[in-house]
Structure formats: C-alpha cells, structure tokens
Symmetry: C2
Subunit: 392 residues, 2 copies
C-alpha cells in the first residue's frame, strides 16, 4: 500500500514522546519524560462552574456551527491581555483561534511552506514543530541555541535566499532546553529577519510561567509585521480544552483563515465559550501565581538534587520559568543509551535526538519538572544519577 501515500507523510516520524509515555504507565517508574502541565493545578471546579453558566446564558448557540475566526469575546480578551502584560497593541481581527498551539504550526506550514522552502529551526527545538513542519517538506536550517538565545554568528553565516519563509522559536523557557533568549539576541534575530524577509514565529506557551527574572521584549514589539505569535491556554488553564491562537499580520491572517476553514471549519465554540466565561469570572493572575510557585519549587528541588547526585561532567541549564530543563552528558556519551539504562532503574526522560532535525547520537536530554513533587524529583534524580554512573 506504500505507493498510495503522499510524499509528505512518508518520512514524518511518529511522536517519540508518545512512544515513551507508554513505558511510563508502569506506576513504579518515575517519569521526567512527559510534557504535561500538572493536573493537580487544573481549575477544575471553576471550569465546572463556568460550564454551568454558559449552558444557562448561551444555551443552544453553544451547540451550533460557528465562525472560523473564533469567538470574538475570546479574541478581545487575548488582545487585552497582550496590552496588559506586554503593552503591545494587537487587534482581535488579527487573532485566529486554533485547536491548541499545535494547530497554529500546521496552519503556518500549510500557508507558507512549499516543498523545499527554508525553515530556520532553533536547535534543539520543539519536536511537535519539527513534526508539523516536516509534513510540508521544508529545507530545515538548524541554528544552535545557547544560554542566551540563538547563535547569531551561525545564523548570519547561513546562505538565506528567497525560499526561506520562517524561523521557529520558543524564546521563553524553551521546550526542550528551558533557555530564554535575551533582548540583544532577539534584536539580532529580528535584524536578520528584516534583512532576509522571513517571519519570526514566536511560540510562547510557557511565557507566563516565569518564577524569577525579568521578561525580555516580544519579537512583536520589535517588528509586528515580521512576527507571528502563537499562544496557548494549555499551560495556564488546561490542555484538554484544546485552545490556542495565532496573531499574524493582516494578509497572512486572511490566508490562515482559509486554511483553517479547509482544515476543520472552526474550533469548538462550546469550549471557547466555557473558557471565556472562566477568564471573565476568575482571577487568572492568581491562578497562574499558584502554578509559578509550584513549578518554581519543583524546578529548584530538581536542580538541588542534580547538584547533590549527578557525577561531575554532567551539565545542565537553570531555567527561569517553564516546565523543562536540559542536561548534557560528558564527552560522546549517548543519551539514548542512557535512556535504556535508566528504564532499568525505573526512571525515564526524553533523550535529545528527537529535538534535532538531523538525528544523531546526541548526549543531551530533557527533564520535565512540572509533574513531580519535590520528594519524587529527588528520588528520580538519584536513580538517574545511578544510571549515569553505571555508564561512565
């Protein structure tokens, strides 16, 4: 049957993380592999109450077809929040509601990328973005991410022609590394985007989850015409609602809307209405403060245990927010080999390989701290240290 499939789907990898999650079902395993927000913090009661309210006020309209752009009240709320948090002016007209941030990636690939077009990809980078863009058969230009952002020298030495359509970044508490791009780095990137005429995709699902330090300016505040912002309610409210958004310049937004219509007509208005009710009736900032506090202490617990147990030579990032940190084994040690060793010690994580567009035997790996309490973080790191020592 293979000859029936489109070229675009043939080589797209199955999500490696979803494969790992199957291993994690065993309850004796401590998992640092997930990318999930902590379910204990979901505002379950508040969403339940909001749901009851929208049934009363909207009734049957909740259940009918709706428009492709998304609920105008929700788009207005998003615009207002950009103003409040970042002092940037976004029109609700330029916002398109999507099924989570992931659909934003698919719509951008669909709308911008011909087979062979250039996509600049931060490296390591979000594997869901690699998977999503891969469908449109781009020519990936990987650029290494260091502690303060993208390697500008490497970026500026690339031969970037007209075929380069976009650059993908998660500039705040990056998935997988936890790194944040600093202001100088963002300005350097935007200068390159202006010179070479491509869009900078600012995917920012974790931006509100800062536990210390100061925000750097959004790419949008540097140049709104060259920036596409992707947002998501998955990490600040709940992923099960599958709600996110895209902010794009007018002409691109119109094309994204056509792509959205062709993809699934519109995002569920039932969940949009519930979310909007929740956002109006409850104090989101207070809720996010709880998440920040919890993730902050869990991150610290993990960092402390790493210092205490990991053998010399293993290095790691120290994130200012988000859900992930990034470790690196010394020398040429393979984190994929470590994974197999770690499973024996009943601890799992995600090896570095799937976060690169060119798969190699990488020595780095991702640890998730949002779903493990302090004690579990310590026990898991202890087990992982044992596995590393066995390999050394």
């Amino acid at each position: 049957m293979d000859e029936m499939f489109s070229d675009r789907i043939k080589d797209v990898p199955k999500s490696f993380i979803r494969e790992i999650l199957k291993v994690s079902i065993n309850p004796s395993i401590i998992s640092f592999a997930g990318g999930l927000p902590n379910r204990e913090l979901f505002p379950e009661k508040e969403i339940k109450d909001a749901t009851a309210k929208v049934f009363e006020s909207c009734g049957k309209s909740l259940l009918q077809y709706s428009n492709s752009e998304g609920l105008i009240e929700l788009r207005q709320w998003i615009a207002d929040r950009y103003k409040k948090r970042k002092n940037i002016d976004v029109s609700p007209e330029n916002i398109l509601i999507t099924n989570g941030g992931q659909q934003g990636l698919d719509l951008l690939g669909k709308t911008l990328v011909n087979a062979g077009d250039g996509v600049i990809m931060e490296e390591p980078g979000y594997l869901g973005a690699i998977q999503s863009f891969s469908i449109y058969q781009p020519n990936f230009f990987p650029v290494t991410v260091h502690d303060t952002g993208m390697d500008l020298e490497q970026l500026n030495s690339l031969h970037l022609d007209k075929s380069v359509k976009l650059m993908y970044t998660v500039p705040n508490f990056q998935n997988p590394s936890g790194i944040t791009y600093d202001e100088a780095n963002r300005k350097g990137i935007m200068a390159c985007a202006e010179k070479n005429d491509f869009f900078v995709i600012e995917d920012d699902p974790y931006g509100e989850l800062r536990f210390h330090g100061e925000d750097a300016p959004s790419f949008y505040s540097l140049n709104p015409e060259k920036t596409v912002m992707l947002g998501s309610f998955s990490k600040i409210v709940a992923p099960g609602l599958r709600l996110g958004w895209i902010v794009a310049p007018e002409a691109l937004n119109q094309k994204l809307l056509v792509a959205k219509q062709a993809s699934d007509l519109h995002t569920c208005n039932f969940t949009q209405s519930i979310l909007h009710r929740f956002l109006c009736d409850y104090d989101l900032d207070e809720h996010i403060a709880k998440i920040r506090k919890a993730y902050g202490s869990q991150c610290r617990a993990m960092l402390n245990s790493i210092e205490k147990y990991f053998p010399d030579g293993v290095s790691n990032t120290r994130p200012e927010g988000g859900m992930f940190l990034w470790g690196r084994l010394p020398g040429q040690m393979s984190s994929m080999d470590l994974f197999n060793e770690a499973v024996k010690e009943n601890v799992v994580f995600v090896p570095g390989d799937p976060f690169y567009t060119t798969v190699k035997k990488r020595s780095d790996f991702r640890l998730n701290f949002s779903c493990v309490d302090e004690a579990t973080a310590e026990e898991g790191i202890k087990r992982l240290a044992k596995a590393i020592e066995k390999m050394m």
Copy 2:
C-alpha cells in the same frame, strides 16, 4: 507579501457559503442557503446533564492532554453502531476521532495526495471537500451525479492512471443535491475502484436522516480494504461539539494518526467524554426519529410549495433524507443571476457554481430545508418563484 504564500494556499477559494451567510443576517430574509442542522432539535438539556456527570466521574482527566486516536469508549460505541445499523464489522482500532468530518477530509488529503495526483469528485459535490482537497493541489476528475448515483459510463471512460488516489462521494442524501446512490451504482463504482486501485471515500454525515425508502449497502460492505468511511456527530447530535471520525484500513489509519498528531495532537477529550456520556445515557434512536420526522415534513412542505409556485421548466430532486434538495433552471439561465434577483425578494439559497471544481455559470442551485418550518418554506418558495419569473 503574496510571494510569501505557499502555492497550495494561493488559489483556494474562501468558502462562498460563509460569504452568503453574511447576507442572511438580515432578519427579513428567508434563508435556504445554510447547511446547518436545526438548532431547535439539539438535545441541549441532555448534553448539559451529561456534562455535569462527566465532571463528577472523570474530574481532572477531562482537562489533561489525551491520546491522538481518541477516546476508546467512543470509538467502541461507533464500532457497535456500525454493527447494529449496517451489520458491518469495524474494529475500534481502525477508527480515528476527528474535529468533525471536515478534518477527516484534510487528513486524507494530507496523507494521500501529492500535487497532481488524481481525485475523482462527484459533481456537483460538497464544497468543503473541494476546498479541503484543493489545498493538496490534486488533479480533479469530476464525474456527474444523476438521480441514482454517479454516471458510470462517464467514470469508466476516464483515463485513470496510478496517480489516482481516491474518489470522494456522499452516497446518501448528497450535499448539495439530496441524491442517493443505488446498490447497482455502488457496485459499479467499487468495481472501478478495485480495477484502478483507489480508495472510495464514503462521507456519510446524513445517512441516519432517512425519512422514507431503504438503505443501500455501504461501500465498506462491498470492499472494506478499498473504503474509507467518514462519520460525524454534527447532524445527529450537535455540530458545536466538533466531533467526527474516520474508519480506514490499518496501514492508512496509521498514517492518518501521524497526520493527526502533527495537525493538532488530539481532538478535545472534554467534548469526547461528554458526547460518550450522552450516547450511553440517552436513546439516540429516539432523538434521531424526531429529527427525521421534522426534516421529512419540512422537505415535503418545500416540495409541495415548489409544485405549487415554481414556473414550468424548473426541475428538482426529491430526496429520501438529509437536509438539501437541488433545483435546476431551464435552459442556460444562471443561478448566480437568480441569486441577485432573489436577494431583492428577501430570499437566499446557494447557486450551483461553488459545488463544481470547474466554475461555470451553472443553472442549478441548492435549497436547504432543515432550518425552515413549513410556513416559512412556503413563503420562501413563493418569493423565489417570483424571482425566477422575473428572470424568465
């Protein structure tokens, strides 16, 4: 900015129906243009109750990320219903939950269609399917639909080479025409699919809405390996939930799953759980019987008024179910011109043009009867008759 866009998005038309809907907002206009199920029949109270129940039993799991395949209990329910209604054996493993039927189309295009590949399209055909497949730049082979199904002579005279991947059909109460393919026609189509090795897409959102006559066998019962079934809860429960499904042969199903992951990770588990609860706790057959009864009388009212008011020379289909019927003006009269005349009489419908892959000045047009009661149907047809007479 135009040079930034992908070739695939450049020529995809904006949904013409969504443009018409804007005209319909005027309350003095009677609209036969929509494609909406009748909101008065939505089981609002029952869905509200089901929602309260799932909050009690599933709690936080509703709000977390979930799997890409979809809720196994819902897939099992779908498999059981195929067994009950059509006596066909479908494994839940071969079912993928989608965001309405429309996403099924996008995933099929993504998974099967390279630019230039052949897509056989019933004509007139569902414009959402035309739009969705257009994204993947196929070579459309239009085949005319008559009263008993596809024109087999026309189909068999096509030069169908290896590049033909699929045929798109809505064999029950087709959108836009209301036509149903008879058994002999289905067998002829499947013989062609087997000979030329392509998939028959059986899109069946209206299949349960039969008000008289007998079901013909599904393509799946003729050859499951050559059939992809698309289903939807939009017309039998509520479109606002955005829930549908694909049944595909194993190897294709695996590729569709990868495409689904890359498109939006998974369909909303919150709405899936609510729908599943609703389906378990309430009698769907009883609910559907109500819809059939209402649409049946509304269709009859429209047909009676057509007989009474339309001038000689205008012909129309007589559907056995669904939501649409199809009219044809005499000679070379353009239904697009009629549309402009009809707006002046405060009545709208959808002209035939967008239901064809090759746009011409068509003389046929679609009338929706699911959203107008008997009296409104009569008044609207009277106005439309006046507009037709003015043009003749």
